[in-house]
Symmetry: C2
Subunit: 186 residues, 2 copies
Amino acid sequence: MPRSPNAESPSGRVDAPDAPDVPNPGVAHDAPTIPEPDIRLAQDLLFFAYRDFTNAADVILEELGLGRAHHRALHFIGRNPRITVSDLLLILRITKQSLARVLGALVEQGYVAQAPGPDDRRQRLLSLTGKGAALEQRLFKRQVERLAPAFSQAGPAAVEGFRAVMRAIMDQTARDYMDGGGGDGG
Amino acid sequence: MPRSPNAESPSGRVDAPDAPDVPNPGVAHDAPTIPEPDIRLAQDLLFFAYRDFTNAADVILEELGLGRAHHRALHFIGRNPRITVSDLLLILRITKQSLARVLGALVEQGYVAQAPGPDDRRQRLLSLTGKGAALEQRLFKRQVERLAPAFSQAGPAAVEGFRAVMRAIMDQTARDYMDGGGGDGG
DNA sequence: ACATTAGGACAGTATTATTGACTCAAATGG
DNA sequence: CCATTTGAGTCAATAATACTGTCCTAATGT
């Protein structure tokens, strides 16, 4: 099993926005049949852009003996303070055991704090410590250095298009996360 | 993709947040200082879109006992017939040993053929066999099923913007590859 | 009381990557 | 001709990230 066993998983925080003009997901009924070269180009774009985007923070991570998995956890905890372990697992779509190693290191090194849930004391609500927030800011800055010039250069209209396309590429579950409090209100 | 030791570029062009309104003669024009929420959003978009894009082909790969590394090699060999091993390494940015295992499996299972270079007989020019092209088509189809509806839904203008932004995110090396024969001409 | 849930832990394995050193054959240059 | 470099392959060891299955505790809920 290479990666994720399932492509879709029913998530918790589903705040269903009624889809606009999405007919049947998966099948383009009347779609103008995108030419193959356009798709080929998009494959390359996704590979190179994602690779170089993620590479941006690697120097800092390596200094600290952390990896990208730690960065991802840090990012999503920072964006969702007091998130439960379960909800974080749903976002990352990795197994509990995979997260445990990464999260354990982050807690042990004082980047992430755990607090018992007020309603359910079994929960360990995750938040960044001051140290964790500082590191996340450092990592974030590196990615800003890559993304901001790209956005400026491409212009606001292009950025709008970028957002629309990227959003349409991901699954409904991920769209739901982004619409519901994920990252902007939680 | 766990990590790469070489980040390859501190991305020379960095606009300092401390120096806001300085006109920048070198590049297009000065950045209107992209708001942090826009960058945060883009981080999430890149994570989810890339994840779900790559997941699309996983079912087929798993059937065949192959991984994403095999898919990437298959993709870039398909797009660059008779590519040398060295050039493939430059595109993928992995080590010879990492490629060797993947490439060995693809050759052994008859997906990729090696031919001695006509000018330099040390080279083993890589191409897809019929079987390899068929598999690549199958994998490609899965990704079309994810990308084509996204493109149709977002519209041509959005796709243009998507391309501009993604292109601007990657390093110069990758842009050069895409401009030069990479993928469309050889 | 009992089943379920949240979280953690242990043991083992797979994939993809890394480094370093080494071989071999072909090309290249004094 | 011979020495060096280069393209490719290989061996051995290791790291990071992920997976599986199983078991455990404590809190919840019925």
